[in-house]
Symmetry: C2
Subunit: 365 residues, 2 copies
């Protein structure tokens, strides 16, 4: 069997995802939004967070682990801030609704800040600040996730890869889009190294004793990923602190399960021994640019920032400095023309969903 | 000459700093606050940001580079957000006032967010969230600083060490205090290695061609510090993105000088070739915990978080997981009893200020 990707149309995949969600009783309006979040990941080249995840959502919905018709509501509020209970809905539905609340608050109070409990995996973190950009707002998003990362000097998984995203609009230039996991590496990269029987770089993982290792099996068999910064010398305490910040704002502040108690996203993962709240947690923020500075002036200043940083003297042997979001913008330009490349394993998963639900398999694009 | 530190009383040093600021026409109330920010750094063991910096402030005030009586004002505002012009005052005065505005806004609107231009070095970043804790708020602070750091794949200094600080209160436990520079290392550590004629760890610096080096001279002579994460493999693009976020929120959004154009803090540093705004920039945030969750419940959850993380299985050969802020709390407990240890070079600087101003040199504690 070849491992070459085949290409599918953006619309075809989005339509398929929408129908899958509707199949499980998700209201059409919500299903469209959820499919849109997945689709954006595919369009921007963040393959791990697009339709490649649909089978996991499918499994979770199949066994009623996720509520298809949640009553998402504000449970505590004070003007620009509030806590939202996602009623165990799809994170792909709860996230956009909570982000909408943050933006609504920002349009009334200059800024809006929403901590969310009782929710699930929310897709790519940058979906949310990109929504804020369409309203001339600076948006933030964070989420805690299933444990994979050891705090510095720890020998067990205690934190997720806990991403932070924020975006800033340019006038002529595309926006600066920051979207980063607070871990030294993504779990997917460790799985790839294992499949290829290759070592991983020193600084990515520890074994089950907390010792630095380059063997991916050491991480997979009871070890952990290191935080951004890796060891003490290079700043691993900083990546740990950033991950802690995300965990606390998303999950401690909202009443969700924090740290090692965050429930797993996939069925094959271990259920935590203790519950300290409801579901996982997200955190969203939105700030009206107009409240700080004329929007056009700000966008011009961002254009200038981008131009100056792009013209940084390049380091020898590199292609020079990128602007955060560059790789995704380049990939988006290509994929909007040529469609979404899917690996055979992902196509098999989608065919499996098609067989089980009767929803026609999407055409190749 | 011995290089052993001598100990001084906290009050003696704070009083000395206050009088030095008053000597240059800083109003007494402002001088007390400015000295308090410096003192907190000394008390918490962040020696690089305490009275060790007083001589630099002294020089800047001596040549009227800093305005001792600034008219600090809100220049644009929308309910929970605003921009403050610091009128080229001491960052140690502008910072606390702008942070106060953020907290006042939070008490009215649930949260408050202040971007500040036309300001100077603001001391330790954690001073500000620690103030917010006294009002049961979650506080944030950021600032841009003079260029020292290369963006990933760059061969020149374009960003400062741009710190981020945030703090969360416990009920029985001391607070979690996060305060981190977004660079792989502090400049002071590279200077120490140079003095000791020792190499620095791989991942801290590049030379003037942007190539990784372990020779501190390579950084000092036209090279740069790397961002948190160091190289591409370990996530240097993430540290660069976080530093960019701090730069934009603090300086692009407020109308201050961003990136490589941030004016230097010390006289011996190069003046940037171009001005794109006024002074450097800060960014402050405050959120009322009550707006999200009952304050006592939140503090209990933080206590639980701290206890669980402290009990993480320790990595082999380490003392186990620390809570962000632990080293500073431990140092504070010692120094509140025994006083502040100052190195001979710092004592010489203070004696010089004493000679030039006629303010009596503080007694040893």
């Amino acid at each position: 069997m070849t491992n070459e990707p085949e290409k599918f149309s953006i619309e075809g995949l989005r339509d398929f995802s929408t129908k899958v969600f509707i199949h499980f009783g998700v209201p059409e309006k919500d299903a469209v939004i959820a499919a849109d979040v997945l689709s954006l990941a595919d369009v921007r080249g963040i393959d791990s967070h697009g339709v490649a995840r649909l089978h996991t959502y499918f499994e979770m919905l199949s066994i009623n682990r996720i509520n298809p018709t949640p009553n998402i509501k504000i449970i505590r509020e004070r003007k620009s801030v509030c806590t939202v209970d996602g009623d165990n809905g799809l994170g792909l539905v709860v996230g956009p609704k909570a982000n909408e609340i943050a933006m609504e608050k920002a349009s009334h109070f200059g800024s809006g800040w929403v901590s969310v409990c009782n929710t699930n995996h929310f897709g790519i973190a940058s979906y949310y600040p990109l929504q804020a950009l369409t309203r001339d707002m600076i948006g933030w998003s964070m989420t805690n996730t299933t444990k994979l990362v050891a705090p510095l000097w720890g020998a067990e998984r205690m934190l997720g890869t806990n991403p932070i995203s924020i975006a800033f609009p340019g006038l002529k230039n595309p926006p600066i889009v920051i979207d980063l996991a607070t871990s030294a590496a993504a779990y997917g990269k460790i799985e790839i190294a294992k499949r290829k029987k290759q070592p991983v770089p020193k600084g990515w993982i520890v074994d089950k004793e907390g010792s630095i290792s380059t063997n991916p099996d050491d991480m997979i068999n009871g070890g952990a990923i290191l935080p951004l910064g890796s060891d003490r010398e290079l700043g691993g305490h900083k990546g740990y602190a950033l991950s802690a910040m995300v965990d606390i704002l998303s999950a401690v502040l909202s009443g969700a399960n924090w740290g090692p108690f965050a429930p797993p996203f996939a069925l094959r993962q271990e259920i935590p021994s203790r519950s300290v709240g409801k579901g996982i947690g997200h955190f969203f923020g939105a700030m009206e640019i107009e409240g700080f500075m004329d929007v056009n002036e700000f966008k011009k200043r961002i254009d200038d920032w981008i131009d100056v940083f792009r013209n940084t003297k390049p380091a020898k042997g590199t292609t020079g400095v990128l602007i955060p979001g560059d790789p995704e913008h380049q990939e988006e330009a290509i994929r909007r023309k040529t469609g979404i490349p899917l690996l055979p394993a992902v196509i098999d998963d989608l065919r499996d969903i098609s067989r089980q639900t009767g929803i026609p398999f999407p055409n190749q694009g």
